[in-house]
């Protein structure tokens, strides 16, 4: 049998065996003890030709309801945003996607410079001095921020708002378990972190405080008040932020944040059933030598030409081994590149316009729902999501919406057992007035 990815011919095989001085390839495997040698064929599906497999997988993909064909109001951390066509054209340059970590700067200037530009853009958006080259996603980036705060302050307690993404909260718990860090959850009240509880729980043992801005319910947390609570504390101020919102909102850096993390899925990365997305990790110069993951720095070659290299590698696992600040190795470089392209396309004005449209459209949707007699929870400032109260099961409602070509908002009961009958609705710049009107009408009709 021959495979298009395997160029070996019988002739080459014989000649190579000859040169090695063995009779067959089996001899090369003779160091595998007889007892552990696998006999027979692996029990997997048989190989399929390119046309057959393409057809089969297209059918499988077709079994999924997708957000190109359906109108989606589902967000909760992953959003349907404008992805300029140019993004995928750049990502399809195989010099980028078939390369690995740029360990040889002379032949990796493309990747290194693209990441340097990414770091700059993230610094601009977050208002922080330093950004790394990417993390797996927003959730694990947040968990790494938590463990960094514990390592740096040598304290073992973190206060985490319950108004952050519930999956991120779960990931924080998992990472904290590894490092024996105590996680104290701060309740939400009226859609915002209960700051008096936060102030009560804050003590000398607190390593860090975690707030999401805008939070999981779309509400804009009063970072100024958190900053005030933390002003005499050594605890680190950790903010998880949707970077699109930071095109419009005051960046966390201006509120004294020590670490700002989040996910750049909103810039040029398709939902892909939850991954790969792209975490970012931004911090202060003071913490620069503690940052997890890779950093790209500017330097010059022997001729004085500007160039870029991986730098401060003494933090990393391949040098520091068991003393490393984190175990991360592979990251999300290609998606960081996609984000850079999307942010280059949006530019200074586009990001503001996009964030603005999200806020305007979400407010229009909220008003339409209220006019139609629905109750929308909370009266705080919000970004592009809000919590809608409905009668009965949101999941059942969503099934009906799907028949009408729409994907409804998240059934909050799936992540917060006390929020049955509540839907988290996301309205991005991709939704038209007509689509919003139809969404409100269809939901209203279900009751009528």
């Amino acid at each position: 049998m021959t495979f298009r990815y395997l160029p070996m011919t019988d002739h080459d095989k014989r000649s190579m065996l000859n040169s090695i001085g063995v009779e067959s390839t089996d001899v090369l495997f003779s160091d595998i003890p007889e007892k552990v040698r696998f006999k027979g064929d692996l029990n997997i599906k048989p190989s399929a030709s390119e046309p057959e497999l393409m057809k089969e997988l297209a059918q499988l993909a077709g079994e999924n309801i997708n957000t190109k064909d359906y109108t989606s109001f589902l967000g909760a951390g992953v959003y349907d945003h404008y992805i300029p066509s140019i993004v995928d054209h750049v990502l399809s340059r195989s010099e980028f996607y078939t390369a690995y970590t740029p360990y040889q700067p002379e032949i990796s200037q493309g990747e290194l410079q693209a990441i340097f530009e990414f770091q700059t853009m993230i610094s601009e958006l977050t208002g922080m001095e330093v950004s790394n080259s990417s993390m797996y996603d927003g959730g694990t980036s947040l968990a790494e921020a938590v463990t960094l705060s514990a390592g740096q302050t040598r304290k073992k307690k973190v206060l985490v708002s319950k108004a952050i993404h519930p999956h991120s909260l779960e990931v924080i718990h998992s990472y904290a378990m590894g490092q024996n860090i105590e996680v104290v959850e701060i309740e939400a009240r009226e859609g915002l972190t209960n700051l008096s509880m936060l102030a009560d729980e804050l003590d000398e043992e607190t390593a860090g405080v975690v707030i999401q801005y805008p939070n999981f319910f779309g509400q804009i947390e009063p970072l100024e008040d958190v900053q005030e609570i933390l002003k005499d504390s050594k605890a680190m101020f950790i903010v998880s932020s949707n970077p699109l919102a930071l095109g419009y909102l005051t960046p966390p850096g201006e509120f004294g944040a020590d670490i700002v993390v989040g996910d750049t899925q909103v810039f040029g990365i398709p939902a892909q059933f939850g991954g790969p997305h792209c975490g970012y990790f931004a911090t202060t110069k003071k913490l620069m030598r503690k940052v997890p993951g890779r950093l790209v720095g500017q330097t010059q070659d022997e001729e004085g030409r500007r160039g870029f290299v991986l730098t401060l590698q003494a933090r990393e696992q391949h040098i520091r081994r068991d003393k490393a600040t984190s175990n991360i190795c592979s990251n999300q470089a290609l998606n960081a590149l996609g984000t850079s392209v999307a942010l280059s396309a949006l530019g200074k004005n586009g990001i503001k316009e996009m964030a603005y449209q999200n806020m305007q459209k979400a407010r229009y949707a909220k008003k339409k729902f209220e006019d139609a007699g629905f109750q929308v929870l909370y009266s705080n400032a919000f970004f592009n999501e809000f919590v809608l109260q409905v009668q009965g099961s949101v999941t059942t409602l969503n099934e009906k919406l799907q028949e009408k070509g729409m994907i409804g908002g998240l059934d909050l009961e799936r992540v917060h057992s006390d929020l049955g009958g509540h839907m988290l609705v996301a309205v991005t710049e991709m939704r038209t007035k007509e689509e919003i009107d139809r969404f409100v009408k269809e939901l209203g009709d279900v009751y009528a």
Partner: protein, 483 residues
């Protein structure tokens, strides 16, 4: 910026240019300033460039980058094989790329079915009982596996198992993952054959041993022949055996970690299973376990109930969630496409040819370079640049000289237990002609080291930039552009 410097995207920026196209706002506007308390006082300083400027910028950057499609990339331990284009097309189908992770599971049965089938395939390939696709990369998988081992020991009341043993030749992620999972990393030495020294293993194993982490074949590309004895030593001491799947490309269809006594396995789908390396990621790092560790797998797990696929969240002993949503699905789609393309016979051929290519190169290159361990290798091998060092040419110099021949050099100075190491992994997707050309280049470099060492010491000569001043980069870090 000097004239000869390659511009940054920010240096193309001119006020008033746009590269985006959004529709006009079609809803009535409200005054946001009244409601929103925190509005940016200054705009984020992103570039203002046209679409063609962006495309030219990144096209030019791509030309300043070497990938597998550009040329041979024998970077040991990283399995830089060909990334099939079909995989890219499949992953971009809207039914895979534009589905939301929190859609009703009933509306994404195709995606769940693919995940289930991939899990089952990886179970068969590794000989493990159950697989999770949640970890995002190899190191993430390592940490996930170690957290499960920790949960297992703690469930048995074994709170004193605080040590994880790693060989001196191990990947740096192994000891780092052990630390992050709350363990202390303990080193076991290699013997003169480049394999784990069993006597030293017996010395370091005790009642505090939680696990031994191994790659097999190890980072020298050598199969740990005494794997069953090692498994016995660890298991008798009550520890677990962890398999780092970075080198699985050597043994597909020939041997399975599950049959060697391993209890936990992570895989790097971006290595063995052709997920593109992306300039550093994204990867995907599924983890497989034997049944006694299955209760601790991260949640949720995809299961099949009466011909429908569901997420099983009801796992009380689970170590919890290690990643939002369900892993790097887009990479998993690519790996699944590859596995379905190759089938059982194809995957076995992959390892057969990966090993044949490596042995062929090793035997040719040992004529001019020191080979510290002489037995047959698996998918990769490690040379020492000791001989050339005596001539004043270091491994780093030879790596830089290879750039002039259009190659990405091998992994250098790793593993740590070989002086002036060069770790070569050709992979099965390279043709003999390519291997021969590389061998010829290495011979020439060896000859240059003898006759004209300066040409090697001062390399590279043909790249767009020369060797970088890394010392200044680390001493005075410049990590962002400032006008």
């Amino acid at each position: 910026m000097r004239n000869e410097d390659f511009p940054l995207i920010f240096e193309h920026s001119q006020e008033g240019r746009v590269g985006f196209s959004l529709p006009d706002l079609d809803v009535p506007e409200v005054d946001l300033d009244i409601e929103v308390p925190y509005v940016r006082s200054t705009d984020a300083d992103l570039p203002e460039v046209s679409e063609l400027q962006i495309m030219r910028h990144y096209t030019a950057l791509s030309k300043r980058n070497h990938g597998v499609d550009s040329g041979f990339y024998p970077l040991g331990s990283c399995t830089m094989k060909y990334n099939p284009k079909m995989n890219e097309d499949v992953a971009r189908m809207p039914g895979f790329s534009h589905i939301h992770p929190l859609q009703a599971p009933e509306s994404v049965q195709g995606a769940l079915g693919l995940m289930y089938d991939l899990q089952t395939s990886l179970e068969a390939i590794t000989g493990m009982d159950q697989v999770t696709l949640q970890p995002a990369a190899g190191a993430h998988g390592e940490w996930t596996g170690l957290m499960m081992i920790r949960a297992y020991h703690e469930a048995n009341g074994d709170y004193n198992r605080t040590k994880v043993i790693v060989p001196d030749s191990a990947h740096g992620t192994n000891p780092a993952s052990a630390t992050v999972a709350g363990f202390e990393a303990v080193t076991v030495k290699s013997n003169e054959k480049g394999l784990v020294d069993l006597d030293d293993l017996k010395r370091v194993v005790d009642e505090n041993t939680a696990a031994l982490m191994l790659t097999n074949p190890n980072t020298l590309g050598l199969f740990e022949e005494e794997i069953l004895e090692m498994a016995e030593i660890i298991h008798e001491a009550g520890g677990k055996l962890y398999y780092d799947g970075a080198n699985l490309n050597a043994i597909l269809g020939y041997a399975r970690p599950g049959d060697m006594g391993f209890d936990v396995v992570h895989l790097n789908l971006h290595k063995t299973f052709t997920g593109p390396h992306g300039g550093g990621g994204p990867g995907s790092g599924p983890v497989g376990v034997k049944s006694d560790l299955a209760p601790y797998l991260p949640k949720p797990i995809v299961t099949k109930v009466q011909e429908r696929y569901v997420f099983d969240d009801n796992r009380p002993d689970s170590i919890g969630r290690v990643k939002p949503y369900f892993g790097n699905f887009g990479i998993n789609v690519r790996a699944y496409t590859y596995i379905r393309t190759m089938g059982a016979k194809g995957l076995k051929q992959v390892s057969e040819y990966a090993v044949l290519n490596a042995n062929y190169m090793m035997r040719e290159l040992e004529k001019d370079f020191d080979l510290p361990f002489s037995q047959h290798c698996k998918h990769e091998f490690v040379l020492s640049g000791k001989r050339q060092k005596k001539l004043g040419v270091r491994t780093l110099d030879m790596a830089k000289r290879l750039l002039d021949f259009g190659y990405h050099p091998p992994t250098i100075y790793f593993p740590l237990n070989v002086e002036e190491a060069m770790m070569v992994e050709p992979t099965e997707t390279e043709a003999k002609e390519t291997l021969d050309e590389f061998i010829e280049a290495m011979r020439q470099i060896h000859q240059e080291a003898k006759d004209n060492p300066e040409i090697v010491q001062e390399a590279p000569h043909t790249t767009i930039v020369g060797r970088m001043d890394e010392t200044t980069a680390a001493r005075k870090p410049v990590l962002r552009y400032l006008k």
